[in-house]
C-alpha cells in the first residue's frame, strides 16, 4: 500500500538566525569597506567575508523556498528557480548516508545535526529534478528526526554501510540498529541541552 508523501519545509522562524548571521556577515565588512580606507590585505579579507556570507544568505533564501518530499520511492528536494537546483534520490540508488554534528561551543553543546544523502553522480549538463546529486539538511528543519529515521531505515534496507561517526550521531538521537549502537558505543543520554532540533 502506498503511503502519503510527507512534506517538510524550513519555516521562516527557523531561518531568522541564519538571516541575521548573513546580514551581519555582509553589512559589517561592507560598511568598513565603504566608509574607511582599509589596508589592501584587510580589504581582501573583508571582501572574502562578503562573498562567504552573501552565499550563506542566498542559500538561506533558497532554503526558505525549498520543500523536502519523502515518499515510498525516495526523497526529493523541490526548490524555487524553476526546479533548477531540484534533487531526487530514489531509495534504491542512495549511495551515501552521513549524519554529522557541529557545534561552535567549546563544550560541544547547543550544536546542530547535518544530514547528507548522496545519489549517483549527476551529469553536469542535467539540471532540475533529474535523479542523483546530493541533498543536505540541517536539524532546524521541523521533522528532521523523522526524515533521519526514514532515510536511515531505507539505507539499512538497501545494505548501505553507515560510518562510525554517523552511527554515533544516530545512536544519540535514539536511532540505529543494534550493531550500529554497539559500534558507536555511546550511552543513550538525553539530548535536550545538547542538540537543537
Amino acid at each position: 500500500m502506498m503511503s502519503v508523501p510527507e512534506k517538510y519545509r524550513y519555516p521562516q522562524k527557523a531561518l531568522v538566525a541564519d538571516y541575521l548571521r548573513a546580514s551581519i556577515g555582509v553589512f559589517l565588512p561592507v560598511a568598513l569597506m565603504l566608509f574607511t580606507d582599509l589596508l589592501p590585505l584587510v580589504f581582501y579579507i573583508m571582501a572574502a567575508l562578503v562573498v562567504l556570507f552573501g552565499f550563506y544568505g542566498l542559500r538561506t533564501i533558497w532554503r526558505q523556498g525549498t520543500v523536502l518530499v519523502v515518499d515510498d520511492d525516495g526523497v526529493r528536494q523541490e526548490g524555487p528557480l524553476g526546479g533548477l537546483l531540484d534533487r531526487r534520490i530514489g531509495w534504491s540508488e542512495m549511495c551515501d548516508f552521513r549524519l554529522r554534528y557541529y557545534s561552535t561551543r567549546r563544550d560541544g553543546s547547543d550544536g546542530w545535526m547535518n544530514l547528507v544523502l548522496r545519489g549517483p553522480k549527476r551529469s553536469p549538463y542535467r539540471f532540475g529534478a533529474a535523479g542523483g546529486g546530493r541533498i543536505r539538511l540541517d536539524s532546524n528543519l521541523p521533522g528532521f528526526d523523522d526524515v533521519v529515521a526514514r532515510t536511515h531505515a531505507a539505507a539499512v534496507t538497501h545494505g548501505l554501510e553507515i560510518d562510525r561517526t554517523s552511527a554515533t550521531n544516530l545512536a544519540s538521537l535514539g536511532f540505529g540498529t543494534d550493531e550500529e549502537r554497539a559500534a558507536a558505543a555511546v550511552p543513550s543520554t538525553p539530548l535536550d541541552t545538547h542538540y537543537r532540533p
Partner: protein, 341 residues
Amino acid sequence: MFTYFAHRVLVMIPTLLVISVITFIIIQLPPGDYLSNQMAEMIASGDRAAMEKLAFLRQEFGLDKPMLEQYAVWLGIWPGNNGFSGILQGDLGWSFEYNLPVDEVVGDRLFLSLLLNFTTMLFVYAVSFPIGVYTAVRQYSVGDHVMTFIGYIGLATPNFLLALILLFLAKKHFGVSIGGLMDEQFIGQDMSWGKFLSVCEHMVVPVIVIGTSGTAGMIRRLRANLLDELQKQYVTTARAKGLKNRKLLLKYPLRMALNPFVADIGNLLPQMISGSAIVAVVMSLPTSGPMLVSALQSQDQYLAGSFLLFLAALTVVGMFVSDMALAALDPRIRLGSEASK
C-alpha cells in the same frame, strides 16, 4: 560543513573585537601614560615649558580624548586627527619610547615571531606524532621507556635552562653563534638566500628549546589516547576478522586518537608564544617577546597594544584552524564526560 565554517567565522569577529577592547583596556589600566611619566621627569628637572608641551602632545596623539574614542581611532573605525588611520588601515600607531611609527619599530619582529612559532609547531607535530604512535603500539618496550623518560625530562626542564645548555653545546660543538635569529651582517638587510639560510641555522636551537615541552606533552597525550582506543572492542573484533595491524591502526584507532592532538593546535600557539617570550630574552632573539615586555614596562601603549592584538589574533586563528580540522576529522556529538573537555 559550510554552515559550520560560516558560523565559526562569524564567532571570530566578536571574539577579535572583545580581545581588542580588553587589550586596549589593559594597556590603559596603569595610572598615567608614557607622556605623563616623561613630563614628570622633565618638570622634576626644572623644564618650565613641560606642561605646555605635555598638553600639545596629548592633543597631537589624541590622549586627551575619551577612552572609547581613543579605542575607535586606534582600531581605525573612527576618524582621528589624520582621518581614518588605525590598525585596519595598517597604521599601528606611534611608539613614544622609540619616537618612531610602531611598524618601523617592529620591523621584522612580528614576521620572525610568526616564523619561529610556526616552525616550532611543525617541529612539535613532526616529532611527537611518530614517537607517540610508536610508544603506544610498542607499549612497555625499551623504545617506549626511553622515549617516555626523554618526554618527562622535556616536560620537567624549564625552557630558559634548556636554552642556556643548548646554546653552550651549540657554540662549543657545532660553532653556531650564540643568540639572535641571524648573523649580524644580515640585520636590517632585505631578505636574501644568505639571510634565509642564516635564519634557518639560528632557528634550530630556539625551535628545539620552545618546542620540547610541547612535544613531550603531545607525545604523552597521543600515547594515552591511542592506548585507550587500542583496547576497545572494535579493535579486537577487527583483528579477529583478520584486518592487518597497520591498516587497522591507520583506519580506526589512530583517527580517533588524533582528536585531542588536532584540538591542541589552538592551545599550543598561546603556550608557545608566552613561552617564547622568556626564551627570546635569554637567547637575544629579535622576536616580539622582549619588545612587548619593554613596551608594557614603559607604558608605550600603541606598541604594546599592537603586539598584544597580533598575538591574540594569532591565537584566535589557531583555534579556528583547530576547530575546522576537528570538525572535518570527527563531527560526532560528544556527551557526558567528553562534552566537558
